[in-house]
Point group: C2
């Protein structure tokens, strides 16, 4: 039982008694071949377990593959997976394969995996930028590989971008808490160094300022350490000298961390609104600033597919809306002082 050789068009051609070009036609423009010949070829192909080699086909045809590359920080986060899922849906609808690669949230990792994907000649590159600078991708668009940034714009690179309405979503949520009478409203996030978070913090501060509340930094915890436990960060804030009566968490991780930190606090628990919806938020009664990561992925993929046909169109920046979903935790009033 040795390893066998894979059959090629030549092998099939020989067995079917035709030329390799005819075999090629059968797997390409089948209607250019006489029906009887098609049958003979297919029969021979099946007998030899022939599978066309799409690498060779792509190489010959020139241009890129019909594969879409998606680069993200890490798997294991529902937000990223939602995006991946949306990309996959749209890609498979259109017959494109999806290659996923993770950067481990490091700039080096990003450049490494992006290089690998480009070496594989992906037809389009979707990425959640991590590095401080994507200028190494400059030129790819002109070489026929569209680049699309997701969740955060690319830096030093002209590229399409699909992002969320971060600022207005958090502004709105913060305003709701303020309207209920809260004044000491906190904002917690990690990582904090990405644009998306900067926008959310901005929305928070603007809402606070609109109510004449300054010096918000005492209620902010903008951490940037992937190893820091969300639960600790929140617990730390809640046990500070001047703890907030309401809290906004910057992503699903943080929200779940907050829930852990708040377990057993009963009536003393602060009001809570989380950015990102999650599976059991309804069961837990957690109010959220919701958005649709799957749609984010779908839109990005659709844009990518469009760009594969026309790499040089004007780049777009698409902003998807957020939606507040009240489930109780964000409607809790401040304790009567």
């Amino acid at each position: 039982m040795a390893v066998q050789q894979r059959a090629t068009v030549e092998d099939v051609a020989r067995l079917a008694g035709v030329s390799s070009k005819t075999v090629s036609r059968v797997f390409g423009n089948r209607d250019l071949v006489a029906p009887a010949t098609v049958e003979r070829v297919l029969d021979a192909a099946k007998r030899l377990r022939f599978r066309p080699n799409s690498l060779a086909r792509t190489l010959r045809r020139g241009g890129g593959t019909d594969t879409i590359g998606f680069v993200m920080g890490e798997l294991g986060n529902p937000f990223y997976y939602g995006i991946a899922s949306g990309i996959e849906q749209e890609a498979s609808r259109n017959g494109n394969a999806l290659v996923v690669a993770t950067t481990g949230d490091t700039p080096d990792g990003e450049e490494r995996v992006v290089d690998a994907l480009l070496a594989q000649r992906v037809g389009a590159l979707l990425l959640v930028p991590v590095a401080a600078d994507q200028s190494y991708l400059e030129g790819e668009r002109h070489l026929g590989t569209p680049v699309i940034a997701i969740d955060r714009p690319a830096r030093n690179l002209v590229a399409d971008a699909i992002v969320l309405a971060n600022r207005s979503g958090v502004f709105d949520a913060t305003s709701r808490l303020l309207a209920r009478g809260h004044r000491r409203v906190g904002y917690v996030c990690n990582p904090a160094a990405v644009k998306a978070q900067a926008e959310r913090v901005q929305g928070y501060r603007e809402a606070m300022a609109a109510y004449g509340i300054g010096g918000t930094s005492r209620w902010e915890r903008l951490v940037d350490d992937p190893r820091a436990a969300p639960e600790r960060i929140v617990a730390d804030l809640l046990s500070s000298a001047d703890p907030p009566t309401a809290l906004i968490t910057g992503n699903n991780r943080m929200t779940i961390g907050a829930l852990r930190a708040m377990r057993g606090l009963g009536e003393d628990a602060p009001a809570l609104i989380g950015f990102d919806d999650f599976d059991t938020a309804d069961v837990l009664g957690v109010s959220v600033i919701s958005h649709d990561p799957v749609e984010l992925g779908r839109r990005a993929a659709r844009l990518a597919i469009e760009r594969i046909g026309d790499p040089l169109g004007f780049t777009q920046r698409i902003e998807l809306p957020t939606r507040f979903i009240g489930r109780g935790s964000g409607e809790r009033p401040p304790p009567k002082a």
Copy 2:
């Protein structure tokens, strides 16, 4: 601003004043080239934005790519993406790319995406089998593409398999409920047609039988309809003539559906143990039969990488353990009758 042409080894060679083979060597066995030449070549490559075409390389070298293909039902389920995450970790550690494809949980989808992956010459194929028959993959192993089944064994195909200890996990959980005094214990799952579920049901029935309880079908809901809402299925069982006092749910979806169905039942809610752990299970106090989908993926990927080197070794069947995690919901005693 027209689309430019991608540079090839020839272009770089011309600019650097060497032969194309030397350029090839610089990007392959760099130490066979004089340092000064390496520098000249790298400089020329950078100027031309040269990126080696790994399609051509793979074609020339023969054999498969270093890409691992993963075929699963859908990307929106934490169980699946846990597996994907594990595969990705192990693959990227080893320098393999990961292509993900979803079948939409249909047999046709499975064969279609598998064909596409094989046409792309993936180095190994990992799949969560959906179709009733994987014999169409027969021979791939001998053609150098190892196939590894995850979560469920492949049917009519000799292939490695990595599965969970489904039977014993559910047997153990059911026994715990029985030991606490429950007698009317229910089991709910959807989809029910896969081997993994059959094993879980078997574990449930065996535990019941060990306590001398027969006629369990009145407490079973083995649904096989992807569109059926989990919440409804559970609600239906709970409102039946002879409702169970304790419930085992066959996967995370079902568990969350049960939580929804049980909202507001207070003291009347049945005891609950879910198969699969999930993000907020600790916060919700849900007892689970836990296992590690990430590890499942890692093991599968490791096996795949091993098999790429040696496609014809004896196939293995690896069974990963489950672990009961008590968090309260599964420790609730039956109501005093």
